[in-house]
Symmetry: C2
Subunit: 266 residues, 2 copies
């Protein structure tokens, strides 16, 4: 198979942005002109430090990463996963400095979008700016879902829900097929994501394997029974705001997509 290029990452980003409003060729060009230096990271390497201002945003081109907060006593809470096409430190662009760190899961390649150039492009292309705003809104929606997951659900449900999210998101960017995908996550990391101890994660995963729900082993995630897993986690993909999700509220409900449409915008 051919190697993954920066353009692949950019293309995925453009596709995501295109969910808000169809991008003009000018806007696409502005995007394409952004990528600068490439970077590569090994497993567990820190891609963004929690409190150090950055010179540019990193577009994830290949591999997976997670955003997290390190707590005083050494434990950590993972705040979300980053997939190819995601911008690793988007909040930085608006807030001025990162309030959480980003770490690579497995081998990762990124491309740096210089902050100055990006800010200029967003200034020149307001629709692009709105699309980026939409990105942070979707991000917030996912975080809210995680809050519900961690706050409300049992261990079994939490893990099921998270596995569903990972698979659905990977599938939407073409990185998952036939209920299988690569996702190199240790049980400890999974625990940090859903706020459970590694030991309990282990028991939960084994239970899921035995009952034929899902399997996560050797860097691979496999949904053995997709619908059962979805039910077990109370998973409704609407919050991911993916295309063609079949949610009754998805189509054309964005104010700037359906200008002058039924919700009175424009």
């Amino acid at each position: 198979m051919r190697s993954v290029t920066i353009n692949d990452g950019l293309e995925r980003l453009a596709q995501k942005l295109g969910r808000v409003c169809t991008l003009t060729s000018e806007e696409r060009l502005a995007l394409a002109g952004l990528p600068g230096a490439e970077r590569a990271f090994g497993p567990r390497e820190e891609m963004v430090a929690q409190h150090r201002p950055t010179d540019g945003l990193q577009l994830l081109v290949e591999g997976f990463a997670c955003r997290f907060r390190l707590l005083p006593d050494g434990r950590r809470q993972i705040l979300g996963f980053l997939l190819p096409g995601d911008i690793c430190d988007l909040s930085t662009l608006v807030l001025g400095h990162p309030d959480h760190a980003v770490s690579a899961l497995g081998v990762v390649r990124t491309s740096v979008l210089p902050a100055a150039a990006l800010a200029a492009a967003l200034e020149r292309h307001p629709r692009l700016a709105r699309a980026f705003w939409w990105l942070t809104a979707v991000d917030a929606a996912i975080t809210r879902e995680w809050l519900v997951n961690v706050g409300y659900r049992s261990a079994h449900e939490r893990v099921a829900h998270l596995l569903c999210e990972v698979y659905w998101r990977l599938e939407s960017v073409g990185l998952a097929h036939d209920n299988q995908c690569r996702f190199p996550l240790t049980q400890t990391e999974l625990g940090d994501a859903v706020a459970l101890s590694a030991v309990h994660i282990n028991r939960t995963l084994m239970n899921m394997r035995r009952t034929g729900l899902a399997r996560m082993q050797g860097g691979m995630l496999e949904l053995l029974d997709r619908h059962a897993l979805q039910a077990a986690g109370g998973f409704d993909p609407a919050y991911l705001h993916l295309p063609s999700v079949g949610s009754p509220f998805h189509a054309g409900a964005s104010p700037w997509k359906a200008q002058g449409a039924r919700n009175g915008f424009g």
Copy 2:
């Protein structure tokens, strides 16, 4: 004391937006022209329904509210609190439909900002649009902190942290003085916010009263020992992005505020 008017709510919103970049008089005028119909709600009344598209955004003028998700079995997870000057359903503006509901705590008055007019104003004033983007980014930052709170901390810490957040935010809009503020929250609701049972909230609060940390009774919140409470909750107000917080990263770190400044934007 004089009654609270819509202008108070608008003024608070303008102040918040002004943290990103100083608003021009034109931009302020555009804001001032927005408010439409007023609405009033009683305690526990639903202000925004979870899945019904809305015609406009509600600016909270007086009183308090909470955003929450209702789960199939009747329990709920509160996702955040809304204070005067906050926009109740900001995410709707970008995402097209609310993915969570909003409920009044106590008596609430709001003013409706018509979606069409707001969208037009943001189109005409890009800096205003950026400021609104900043609002959703801050919102996301707070949600991330809640995720850490619920995922990581013990019951005692969680409650302490939440009380700190509420007090700090209220103080920043002038609604708290001398370690006291009004905040009408039942113990059940507090439990829904930090993902603990009402019974356990009760024990935790009583413990805090006995040990002289804080008191929450009769709709009033009182921090008996501000620093001890802060320490007990591991509370660092930086994530709230309030003015004059003393965070080393706060001043001028926003890309559009310090144009051409040290981080290379502009």
